[in-house]
């Protein structure tokens, strides 16, 4: 596609429910990132996929969070048993990846998650 696509754009869920957020990266981009942005805050790193390598999960805040990337393309971020503090905008980004460094990241419009 022309850019990074995320769905849904908005999600309201009840506390305790599970949610799945989807990211379609730019075709050919091998690197994919998930970030979380709470209201008025910075970009908190969650997880990073690079090609077929094991993902870097060092930013996931708890074991309720998980992510997968199928076929080196689409990624799904799953939050189980959602809590109110999970409310935030979840941003996905992709880049051309590990070909020397300095590859710029393209961000999607994000999914705004509200846990009520």
């Amino acid at each position: 596609g022309a850019g990074v696509s995320q769905s849904p754009s908005n999600k309201v869920t009840e506390k305790g429910k599970d949610v799945e957020l989807r990211c379609d990266p730019i075709s050919g981009h091998t690197a994919l990132y998930w970030y979380r942005q709470s209201l008025g805050q910075g970009l908190e790193f969650l997880i990073y996929f690079q090609g077929n390598s094991a993902p870097d999960k060092s930013g996931l805040p708890s074991d309720r969070f998980s992510a997968e990337r199928t076929g080196g393309s689409v990624s799904t971020l799953t939050i189980q048993r959602t809590q109110q503090e999970d409310s935030a905008v979840y941003l996905c980004a992709s880049s051309l990846g590990r070909q020397g460094s300095g590859r710029k990241a393209f961000f999607g419009q994000g999914t705004r998650l509200t846990v009520v």
Binding site: A31, Y33, Y35, Q41, G42, L43, F45, Y48, Q50, D56, L91, A93, S95, G97, R98, G100, S101, G102, R103, K104, A105, F106, F107, G108, Q109, G110
Partner: protein, 111 residues
């Protein structure tokens, strides 16, 4: 590991200049700068690689001092369109592409 940006917020009149700093406690391989307008996704501005280079983009330029582990973004003769939140993204190892973003600097330009 998260880089620290300063100042946290800047208010300018059109035509004024500003400097935004990004400091890391880790040695850096590269620094990326992004701008995010309200309600929009962050957009890439520039990348600076290890080597102390300085880059420019219209009236926005940046420098990278690897010894001090910091980068500075310079906005010259600011325009209304410069308003937004600026983030630096840092890469601490070559060939990882893992970006850790700073705390952000909110810039507002008024007529």
């Amino acid at each position: 590991q998260q880089p620290v940006q300063s100042p946290q917020a800047v208010i300018l009149r059109e035509g004024e200049d500003a400097v935004i700093n990004c400091s890391s406690s880790k040695a850096l391989y590269s620094v990326h700068w992004y701008r995010q307008k309200h309600g929009e996704a962050p957009v890439f501005l520039m990348i600076l690689l290890k080597g102390g280079e300085q880059k420019g983009h219209d009236k926005i330029s940046a420098s990278f001092n690897e010894k001090k582990q910091q980068s500075s973004l310079y906005l010259t003769a600011s325009q209304l369109s410069y308003s937004g939140t600026y983030f630096c993204g840092t890469e601490i190892r070559y060939n990882t592409d893992k970006l850790i973003f700073g705390t952000g600097t909110r810039l507002q330009v008024f007529p």
